[in-house]
Chain length 235, copies 2
DNA sequence: CGTGTGATTGACGCCTGTCAACGTCTGTGG
DNA sequence: CCACAGACGTTGACAGGCGTCAATCACACG
């Protein structure tokens, strides 16, 4: 599965994606280019597993990866989606803990693995990069806190509406209006934090109310306004 | 409310508390000592308010502060408790966003305010401190993710048991076994993410099953083992 | 064509939120 | 010293959102 064909250079990658690495100086970027290991992953492949020790982190060159925790009787709770330009696994590296999440590929991906000590080195050495990483982590923490409040106070219906809007915001839609991320009903349920059947029922309710269109896993948002009202957004 | 009497020196504070500032060199610590502003806060006082811009962060010298988000119709969701040695408000400073939480004093406190630019300066200048801050934030992020999973998958009963155990872990108990944090039933509900009445009902259930003792706001954990079993801990 | 995975629908019941009434305690002011 | 207001705690009744179980359908794939 080694990806020796055309290893993406970080410099090229930076042009396309808004990555955290833009805060690095050329020599530092070269250090990453030299140490990274790139691989192709297919949908369903596991990038890393909860409870394992990770000695590095991954940068998403292309594709989509879901990051989730495994809860009671193996039910997944998705806490994050990573797309091109994002990095995953750095949390465990920096907190010096075992991975508290698993990562699995949703859409065929090219991922670059970068050793832990390179990251530590960069944070210690480059104040601007360090600050940017802090900022990134703090923003994620803010989002996590907001989601705790959401999930604790909103109904499943409200949360589903919100999740749909978030997905559009994050992944956009093609020129037909179809969300550029395909998820199973179960995966949707694992974001919202509910049962698969509930998602199915609510989705067809939304469809009947002409808020969305459904075509298999393809979801089209029709009435953005009403969805927002349902989601009861207070942020 | 200015606390001019006996301003706690950071050096003394470090001896008692395990604070993040232990990674600073003496000159840096002095910089904080020189710029900080210390105040006394009484129970109920608001430290900072959601949506406001904070131009610094707070270090808890003594007391307890709850950090929460305000959700639908003003209901609070508590996301963090800060006690002596902890810092709060740094998230908003570093993410350069408005405060996404409010902080309110639970137990009379002495808080030291430290300007934002001092923090940024330290992170940029001291790699070890920077790394420690990253580590701290990453750990918090891990906890937040774990709580998302919890709240999404566990029942109220399980979560309440877990919260009680967490409180004991964090704040300890006096020699009578009473938890060293006093919360109203509503505050407990705002941690668990449920209605006040549910907390009351479950608490008296726990009491009847001889898992805990209740005396007003004083809670004593009797049967740690069974509570753990109820909490369904999978971590 | 059998097998397996995912999607859908219906039935059922419990957990839990909401509403309402009442009890308890503390502090304040007359 | 007592009355009263207000915050907090408790209990009961009730309904409905949502999880669970089970059966069936749809579709892809070897």
């Amino acid at each position: 599965m080694k990806y020796t064909d055309t290893i993406p250079s970080c410099l090229d990658c930076l042009k396309d994606n808004d990555s955290i690495f833009k805060y690095l100086i050329p020599e530092e970027l070269k250090r990453i280019d030299d140490t990274k290991i790139c691989n192709i992953y297919k949908r369903g492949n596991v990038v890393y597993h909860e409870g394992s020790r990770i000695n590095g982190f991954y940068c998403i060159h292309s594709g989509i990866v879901k990051v989730f925790q495994t809860g009671i009787d193996g039910r997944e709770q998705i806490v994050y989606f990573a797309k091109s330009g994002d990095i995953i696994g750095y949390r465990s590296v920096l907190s010096d803990e075992l991975a508290c999440t698993s990562a699995k590929v949703i859409e065929d991906s090219v991922l670059c693995f970068i050793p832990a000590d390179v990251l530590v080195e960069l944070i210690k050495g480059n104040g601007n990069f360090s600050l940017a990483m802090m900022k990134k982590t703090c923003k994620e923490l803010g989002k996590a806190n907001a989601y705790i409040t959401d999930i604790a106070q909103k109904t499943v219906r409200e949360r589903l509406a919100e999740v749909l809007l978030n997905l559009r915001e994050t992944f956009g839609e093609d020129n037909e209006g179809v969300l550029k991320i395909l998820l199973t009903r179960e995966e949707l349920a694992n974001i919202v934090g509910t049962a698969t059947e509930s998602v199915i029922r609510l989705l067809s309710e939304f469809k009947n109310d002409h808020l969305i269109n459904l075509n298999g896993r393809k979801i089209t948002i029709i009435d953005h306004k009403k969805l927002e009202k349902i989601s009861n957004a207070f942020s």
